[in-house]
Point group: none
DNA sequence: GATGAATGAGGTTTCATTCAT
DNA sequence: AATGAATGAAACCTCATTCAT
């Protein structure tokens, strides 16, 4: 997508049309607006992510910490796959679309909130099942986890290091589950894959 | 700042000049460019954050987990103060400046990398002192922590809930240090303020 | 006709095609051009008017002022009927078609000239018969009469008052034949219907 | 004015700017819109005409038919002068501006109505003074007179004959005051100049 | 130093017309 | 014969930047 390479505002309709090999008037047969195409892109990436979260199983599917860890790993794999297949989409979602207009910002904010509510449901299940801390501030922690995930994606997009994604992915899970503190009294879990 | 209310591309030189109470030609005596002013703003916010990190003490200052926790808390307080004093600056840094051009994106990316290197130094100290896990992927985890911090700020900017910042702030420290898993064999630390 | 409701320039080929219930490509089987359809419309309205003038009898048919007055009345009735049946046509002729291009303006000008020549023939007959003033500037007065007629139509199109046409119609005939001056020495003709 | 030569829709901002010898962006410092400039032109021509009517003296100034005839003659001179000085203005008013949009059409219609009301005031005075017919349909006749005047202007704009204006001008006054009928019993007034 | 009038590149969008199906 | 997808010329308009005053 031209937007992710050049940026939304730097991309003219003529650029898009030229890349698609169509006349620039043709563009307006399929999209209402320049903004309209961005909306479609955003919708598409959000849908992909929603699907990825759904594929990671229902919130109530995990009975143990290991189950939950596996769910998280599957989500990481799904998101990595999306990132690999369509690397531009996240750039548009996270870097470009945030500065178009209040309505678009709202749309993205709402999507993050939706993600946080999903995570919240997982947390609720974990607390009910007893494998998550009972004193968890579910809502706040869910937002933090969502932030971790998307900032991980963002940072690996812009990084040169192709290995960083995998390592941050692991670091997220490790930190989420165990924290970073050493445990003199506790056998550290082995690194999750 | 006009940029944070209206957005960079929606803000004209005339808007800025009017707010500053100067003629819009005069603007060019003080700034090279429209882009130039954004650069100044970004530099200013980055400086504020660098100062906040410096105020939280040197990486080697903490000998125990409690020290480190206190450092983190001080950093949280400092950032919260900046956010409170100049709420627009972060919006510009995190939402607007990311979509200007590759050079500007690079500048922000580099700043995040710098932050991550700072955090890395804290982690190195913690591992040397023995209060952080010895198997920590320092670099990746540092990036994750930076991502947590800035995504927390970002999310609280756009949220209606004024209390969310404090709660996410706590959630970040809690998760960072202990993870979210329950510890049948371990007395959970009390909630840090 | 779409042109009279929306205006020529505000009307797209697609509007016309939709109203005709055909695809907008099909339009070009029946008309050369967008302009071409306007030409047809103009031709049609001019033909109607020419027919109306013909129906009012030959220029030489009237022997007396009363005959001529009756001819004028018949013409008024005919034009009123056209105006009532197809109110949009005059709007197109008098308001829209005048601003398309020089050729179209010329066409309308020529039509008015033709009308004036017709009127001229009536005047010539009237002068020969002796019931019109012998010092009449036939050509100029014919143009004035044509102007009166069409401006009457135009003004009644845009007026809210549905009675205005009839009253202006009478006023035209009254003014034409007797003028507006009072005649202390002359019994005013009774108001013609 | 470019509008009167090329037509409103055929005239681009670039044409106007080129003719004025300014950059086309400069145009927008002085006019809101393309339409805005037309509005100014229309206002200007209407003002000229209003002034011309005012110069022809107050409605109540004439005590006799001769006075009124002189007023009419002065009005004719004034309008002829405007027509001579700025021939394009009337073309725009009468041919172009009528097909822009309903609001503009309304504006012109309203102006004609205003003219008719002025004429009405003259008629009222004439009837009160007794030099105009007592059975005059003032409102309708006023509209007809206004129509005569403007259609005279319109026809002479488009005619090749430069003498036509003067002749139609006379014909209007002659017809208005005496009609065109011969008067066996009445000494025709001599042709007014 | 300060100003704001002037500029024109460049953007988005419309729509009459063509032409393969 | 009928269609409507495709086209691209051309329109209007914005706004960052310059420069004479």
């Amino acid at each position: 997508m031209e937007f992710s390479e050049r940026g939304y505002h730097q991309t003219g309709i003529s650029h898009i049309a030229k890349r698609l090999g169509i006349g620039h008037g043709t563009f307006y047969r399929y999209f209402e607006n320049k903004r309209d195409i961005l909306e479609h892109v955003i919708d598409s990436v959000c849908d992909k992510i929603r699907l990825a979260m759904a594929e990671a199983n229902a919130p109530t599917a995990s009975k143990t910490l290991e189950d939950y860890e596996a769910q998280l790993a599957r989500l990481g794999v799904s998101l990595s796959r999306i990132l690999h297949e369509t690397p531009g989409l996240f750039r548009i979602l996270l870097l470009e679309a945030t500065s178009i207009d209040p309505e678009m910002t709202r749309r993205i904010t709402d999507f993050f909130d939706w993600c946080a509510r999903q995570v919240d449901a997982y947390f609720e299940n974990g607390m009910r099942q007893g494998f998550l801390r009972s004193d968890l501030d579910r809502q706040a922690t869910a937002h933090v986890l969502v932030g971790m995930i998307f900032s991980t994606i963002l940072m690996t997009i812009n990084a040169g290091d192709p290995d960083l994604l995998k390592r941050m992915n692991s670091a997220v899970r490790r930190m989420l589950l165990d924290g970073i503190a050493s445990r003199p009294d506790f056998q550290n879990r082995s690194e999750p894959t």
